[in-house]
């Protein structure tokens, strides 16, 4: 097991560096550079101004030299400096990371629990009206574009009903402390986490339902029934446990996106996470920040894939890692 983990980690490092190099060239292939963007925003600039910026950002050096400098930094765990934001990239990312983790993790938990429960319920009542209802709802969630759902949620719950704040991480300037602050953040979390979770909730529901139905037709379930086990126990011990495998696979994939996967939600809801940071960095061609976010996201994806593989063992001990 340990040897397996070490080997996987070694491979992960190589993959990470390959991803970094690829990203580096992709980003630099996009038209415009951060100096031009900053000069553009300043509303006036002469050649000296732009040349100064390029020199300050190190953009006057050959591309390969820039790559070398960047990779050298990353190997020493230095993600570089954002001249745009006047902060080290690592600080920027780690300032923003908690907000993203809270948002995506909540969405993930909502999606996974509600999705699985709904899937189990639907499969237990297959063909009945409650199954149709749940399945239709799932289809609706699955098909609704995220930004539209987000805007409608804000319109209904924030503008018309005024129940929940429509954007932001907490009430700015309210200076809540302790539990009051937690409550405040939780309130702000409801709309973005729910809209972000809707799509995956639908996916989990459909997958759980299909998987449950499939497993329930297998021979060992028939055997269990023939032995006279109670339906509840068959559902829980025999069907559910086996039906969860594909769901775990998918959840592992989604978990990998926890870090970088909320660009749209964070932008619509003004959520100060790294999805938004990435989006803004892209528009501003803030190379170091973009590369930094990609790096952290890629690392997370690799990490979660590893965790998923290990989790398989616990869900189904027959599966061997290696």
């Amino acid at each position: 097991m340990l040897r397996f983990i070490l080997m996987r980690l070694g491979k992960a490092v190589i993959i990470l560096i390959a991803i970094l190099i690829l990203n580096f060239f992709l980003i630099h292939a996009a038209p415009g550079d951060p100096a031009a963007v900053m000069a553009g925003e300043a509303g006036a600039a002469d050649e000296k101004f732009i040349a100064d910026l390029r020199e300050q950002f190190g953009l006057d050096k050959p591309l390969l030299t820039q790559l070398g400098i960047y990779l050298g930094g990353v190997l020493q765990l230095d993600l570089g400096f954002s001249y745009r934001q006047q902060m080290p990239v690592a600080d920027l990312i780690f300032d923003r990371l908690p907000a993203t983790l809270i948002l995506t993790l909540t969405a993930f938990v909502i999606a996974l629990t509600l999705g699985t429960i709904a899937g189990v319920l639907a499969s237990a009542r297959v063909g009945k009206w409650s199954d149709t209802f749940i399945s239709t709802l799932a289809l609706l969630f699955y098909a609704t574009p995220l930004y539209w759902a987000a805007l409608m949620a804000v319109l209904v719950f924030s503008v018309y009903l005024n129940w929940l704040p429509g954007f932001g991480y907490e009430t700015v300037g309210a200076d809540h402390e302790g539990f009051a602050r937690l409550l405040d953040i939780a309130k702000h979390l409801i709309l973005p986490a729910t809209t972000l979770g809707l799509f995956f909730m639908a996916v989990y529901m459909r997958m759980t339902r299909a998987s449950m139905l499939e497993v329930s037709q297998l021979d060992f379930v028939k055997t269990a029934r023939a032995k006279g086990l109670k339906p509840g126990i068959i559902q829980r011990r025999h069907i559910f446990r086996n039906a969860m495998l594909p769901v775990v696979t998918l959840a592992g994939l989604q978990a990998g996106q926890l870090v970088g996967g909320a660009v749209l939600t964070e932008t619509v809801f003004a959520w100060p996470g790294i999805g938004r940071l990435m989006f803004e960095a892209l528009a501003q061609r803030d190379y170091n920040v973009l590369l930094g976010v990609f790096f952290v996201s890629a690392a997370m994806v690799l990490l979660f894939n590893l965790i998923t593989d290990i989790l398989y063992r616990f869900v189904d001990p027959r599966i061997r890692v290696g």
């Binding site: 509303g43 002469d46 300037g173 932008t267 003004a270």
Partner: protein, 515 residues
């Protein structure tokens, strides 16, 4: 003989007395978008930076809505009769936010050292300055090489902010730690910046103007999505939407709300003028008749009413009507598709497709490009819209890779500051999107702009600029669209929010919230 220009201050005192008595206290919640890269306005001059930093930093002068100078850090000033010597007397009880006194040494440092190195726009203006000296702690003398008409117009906070000498002298300006905790002389102090969320400024208790500012604090909310910014106002999270905060089609809905006021004042100094760059070097746009045809073909009144809620004005030429030396005695281009067709026929336009770059600043500009495409299509011009993001747009313009491209530029109150740069041939250089991007070359125009900048009397300057406006509106180097009107939307109980020609950018020192 010296000429005094300080009567205006007295006039202002009278006019404020007519208002209700301002009250102290309260908080302003304002939208800021996009998040500024830095608040150090001496180093970074983009829009959001200027908007927040105008509360922290100050210039020597402010300008009223007719662009007349008013005192700020300079309480009075004198101009010698030959137009070469400008003497400023500073307020004597001004302190930096860290408690150090503000003196003439700071002015000399800011103008002569710091900003000459960092501020591209000011650097160009300062080329006319021979020396900047401080005969005593509270007097500063600018001596010019030759008269420079717009000189008194370069002292507002975005153009010449005062930078603390004791913090920056002898350091590497760009990497100075203090850039993250800006120290100015302004009515509000920097308190906190939670990136991605908000910027907090608090009242400067030691401000040198008695009783001001009135507000206790200002929260600038960073909200990246335009629809969310509208929601922020609707749900009461913010009370002030500076011009351009929300999409134009949301403006009517928001301004119809109770207790909501709107003004398009406060942009006179900038005079944002939109036009389409027309590539004068190659393709059909190199032909003057084609460019004139474009002017006739566009229904700019329609664009104004349908896309801009009737705010702003149809432009008559290169100079905005709020800018000094404007004249409307020029060739004007009414919407006239038939005339456009005639011109196109005369030049033998073969239907070659022209590429149009919209401005990637939101829906309005995208739709405007579509309207133009339709207008031009009606007279037989084939337009292909090429969409880009901001960085791509910058690059395409800077490298002249376009046929027609939307933009808008500021005028800074005087043709020598904000107009000449677009049309003089010495400003043709790849690499910047704010110079003569269209590649227009006209010796006569070069000569006249050079002459006008150093002419001593206003009459003389008016005469030259009138001639210039006539030549340019005949040549149509670019296709002028609208003098943009950006509405500032706010709750009506916020008073004296926009009091000068740079509007919200001038800081909230006069603003108060009526109880």
């Amino acid at each position: 003989m010296l000429k005094r220009l300080t009567t205006l201050a007295a006039a202002l005192l009278v006019s404020t007395a007519l208002h209700a008595e301002p009250v102290s206290g309260g908080r302003a919640n304002v939208v800021i978008q996009p998040e500024p890269p830095s608040l150090m306005v001496g180093l970074v001059q983009n829009g959001p930076t200027q908007m927040v930093a105008g509360n922290i930093y100050e210039g020597l002068l402010r300008y009223d809505n007719d662009l007349n100078p008013m005192p700020q850090l300079a309480k009075e000033w004198e101009v010698s009769e030959d137009g070469l010597t400008y003497t400023f007397k500073l307020h004597e009880n001004v302190k930096w936010h860290d408690g150090e006194p503000f003196t003439s040494a700071d002015v000399v440092f800011s103008a002569d050292q710091f900003l000459r190195e960092t501020h591209a726009r000011l650097r160009t203006s300062l080329e006319h300055v021979e020396s900047i000296t401080a005969p005593d702690d509270y007097t500063v003398v600018f001596k010019l090489k030759q008269p420079f008409g717009p000189f008194l117009g370069i002292f507002e906070v975005g153009t010449m902010p005062m930078i603390p000498k004791h913090i920056y002298e002898g350091t590497d300006y760009k990497t100075n730690e203090a850039n993250n905790t800006p120290i100015g002389t302004g009515p509000f102090k920097f308190e906190e910046w939670v990136k991605g969320s908000h910027i907090l400024l608090t009242k400067n208790e030691d401000y040198y103007e008695e009783g001001k500012p009135y507000l206790d604090e200002i929260y600038w909310h960073v909200i990246p999505d335009a629809a969310s910014r509208a929601v922020a106002y609707e749900t009461g999270v913010v009370d002030i939407l500076p011009g351009g905060s929300i999409e134009n089609f949301d403006v009517p809905r928001i301004t119809e709300m109770d207790n909501t006021c709107v003004t398009d004042a406060g942009w006179e100094y900038f005079g944002p003028l939109s036009w389409m760059w027309l590539n004068n070097r190659e393709g059909p746009t190199a032909d003057k008749r084609f460019r004139q045809a474009v002017m006739y073909a566009m229904d700019r009144e329609f664009a104004k009413s349908a896309l801009w809620n009737d705010l702003g004005k149809v432009s008559t030429g290169p100079v905005s009507s709020s800018t000094r030396f404007y004249t409307d005695d020029v060739n004007t281009y009414e919407y006239n598709p038939d005339k456009a067709k005639e011109l196109l026929e005369e030049m033998g336009y073969d239907g070659e497709t022209v590429r149009l770059l919209p401005l990637p600043y939101g829906e309005t500009w995208q739709r405007w490009a579509e309207a133009v495409k339709q207008n031009l299509g009606e007279v037989g011009i084939n337009v292909e819209i090429v969409s880009t993001d901001v960085a791509g747009w910058n690059q395409k313009l800077a490298e002249w890779d376009y046929d027609m491209a939307f933009t808008y530029l500021y005028q800074y109150g005087d043709p020598a500051l904000g107009v000449a740069r677009t049309y003089i041939s010495s400003n043709i250089a790849k690499g910047s999107q704010w110079n003569n991007v269209e590649g227009y070359e006209n010796e006569k125009v070069d000569e006249l702009f050079a002459k006008a900048a150093v002419a001593v009397t206003a009459e003389e300057r008016q005469e030259i600029y009138t001639e210039l406006q006539k030549i340019l509106t005949d040549d149509v180097p670019v296709a002028w669209l609208l003098e943009l009107g950006f509405p500032t939307i706010y709750r009506c109980n916020v008073k004296d929010l926009v009091t000068t020609a740079i509007g919200v950018n001038d800081g909230f020192k006069d603003a108060y919230i009526e109880k």
